[in-house]
């Protein structure tokens, strides 16, 4: 009796997709079948085998699309953002602390592009200190800001070993680029070049040690002359 009902129900179900008017009838049947099949599990199993005989669609449809691997959806960590802090020496103007933020994009395992925005401060020239006269620059003019965009080359990638116990991933990089420095109130075209070491602490975090020469030409002290300004800094960066 139950299986006959089931048969009718399944037939109804088959046509359900095609005709929406059969849906209400299907609902009624479904409730009836549910009540009946609650009585005996064996009958349900029988109904299931019968369903197979009737060549019905399986109840659970596996979707093959979900198993297809979408490479673009994999989390990529080609960007690196971080802050650096260190010391910057300005030719004739002494040494002061420098801070910078940097954003890098890793093009390949060998090359990356890095943009930096930083600030530091000019000290007093030895002439100002010795003469005790009027300062050459106002406080505002002593604020130095700089930006640059550089191309980095991971020249010696690999592991380095500390005390024979720990292996750190990282590597030495060479970097050079161009930018601008606001020096003594003027914006000056600046070339930077240097080298750094990147300790990759985890997949998503790295420590940097960086030495960079910022070269520009300035006539602030009377004659136009080239100035080398060396920056030593340490940085903490995150990959994302």
């Amino acid at each position: 009796m139950e299986s006959r009902l089931q048969y009718i129900f399944l037939n109804q179900n088959k046509t359900q997709n095609a005709t929406s008017c059969a849906r209400s009838a299907g609902w009624l049947m479904q409730i009836l079948v549910l009540l009946f099949s609650l009585g005996s599990g064996a009958e349900l199993a029988l109904a299931a085998t019968e369903a197979e005989d009737l060549e019905l669609e399986p109840l659970v449809v596996r979707e093959p699309e979900q198993r297809k691997v979408k490479v673009d959806a994999i989390d990529s960590e080609d960007f690196e953002i971080g802050i650096n802090a260190g010391l910057m020496h300005f030719e004739d103007f002494g040494t002061d602390t420098s801070t910078s933020i940097r954003l890098a994009y890793h093009i390949s395992e060998h090359f990356f592009v890095e943009g930096v925005y930083g600030r530091s401060k000019l000290g007093q020239t030895s002439f100002e200190q010795l003469s005790g006269g009027a300062p050459l620059l106002t406080d505002e003019e002593r604020d130095v800001t700089f930006y640059n965009v550089s191309l980095g080359w991971n020249i010696f990638p690999g592991e380095s070993f500390v005390a024979g116990r720990w292996a750190f991933k990282g590597g030495l990089y060479l970097i050079a680029g161009a930018g601008s420095t606001e020096f003594g109130g003027d914006d000056l075209f600046t070339i930077n070049a240097g080298a750094g070491y990147r300790f990759v602490a985890t997949d998503w975090m790295a420590l940097h040690l960086d030495v960079r020469d910022h070269y520009f030409e300035s006539d602030l002290l009377g004659t136009m002359e080239g100035k080398h300004n060396v920056e030593f800094s340490a940085g903490l960066t995150f990959f994302f």
């Binding site: 093959p64 960590e77 390949s108 395992e109 690999g158 109130g185 075209f189 006539d219």
Partner: protein, 253 residues
């Protein structure tokens, strides 16, 4: 009142339990697909680069999970819980769970000619002064790109900034060395150096036309060279003509 609050708390706890048990609902879950090794083996390195040593191999038939990628490298986890980095060329020898090959497509010339967004940085000569510029471009079609550009001009006696909007036309977008024509307009602000006495800041409109070319290197990377002739629409009697040469690199997305 109190009872209501208990019910609310209870519901929240229940929701938490359900949401954590049904991992598929979690929007923060990362996409980390399983793939099957079809080569005799793939090599796992300690880091994403050829400079890092190989410490493990995953054998044929192993189901490895891809965790993330960095440049051309994929971090995978093997069935024995070893995690290491595999190069894209080796990942090409894996299949999805249906046994179908996976497209670990490297970007190529086709992607270069069909690029949408690009950004770049370049430097050069602006009428005897140094110029540095950055731009962002959007391709309406492979032949036409709209671009906004910011330029800093650093001269011996003055410096300035220029903001401009350009339109670029590529007659041959499918070529690796793809030439273009450009026209645009903008604003240039000039500020004399502090060592120059009694000179004033100026702001002028500017119009320009130029030619250039992009050279596709690999992946998302291209070089750009450009020549532009600027006409500064000054408030004086004569307009000023300035030649600009520049070169730089760009990345497209």
């Amino acid at each position: 009142m109190n009872n209501n609050r208990y019910i609310q708390w209870g519901l929240m706890v229940l929701m938490l339990i359900f949401s954590s048990s049904a991992a598929a609902w979690n929007p923060f879950e990362k996409y980390q697909p399983l793939v099957v090794v079809s080569d005799p083996y793939i090599e796992l390195r300690t880091g994403p680069g050829k400079g890092y040593p190989i410490f493990y191999v995953a054998a044929q038939g192993d189901e490895v999970q891809i965790l993330k990628s960095k440049t051309d490298w994929y971090k995978v986890r093997t069935p024995r819980d070893k995690e290491g980095w595999v190069h894209r060329n080796e990942m090409r020898h894996t299949l999805d769970l249906n046994g179908d090959p996976i497209d670990f497509g490297e970007l190529g010339l086709g992607d270069f000619s069909k690029r949408r967004w690009e950004m770049g940085f370049n430097g050069g000569d602006f009428g005897g002064a140094n110029s540095l510029s950055g731009y962002i471009g959007y391709a309406l079609t492979p032949n036409i790109t709209l671009q906004v550009e910011g330029t800093q001009i650093l001269g011996e006696f003055s410096d300035g900034v220029m903001a401009s909007a350009n339109i670029l036309m590529y007659p041959f977008p499918k070529w690796r060395l793809s030439p273009y024509f450009t026209i645009g307009t903008g604003i240039i602000t000039t500020k004399p150096h502090t060592t120059i006495v009694a000179a004033e800041d100026r702001e002028d409109e500017i119009a320009h036309a130029g030619v250039g070319a992009n050279l596709y290197l690999n992946d998302r990377f291209m070089l750009r060279m450009e020549y532009k002739r600027h006409t500064v629409l000054t408030s004086r009697d004569d307009n000023e003509e300035i030649d600009q040469w520049k070169a730089g690199f760009s990345i497209f997305f």
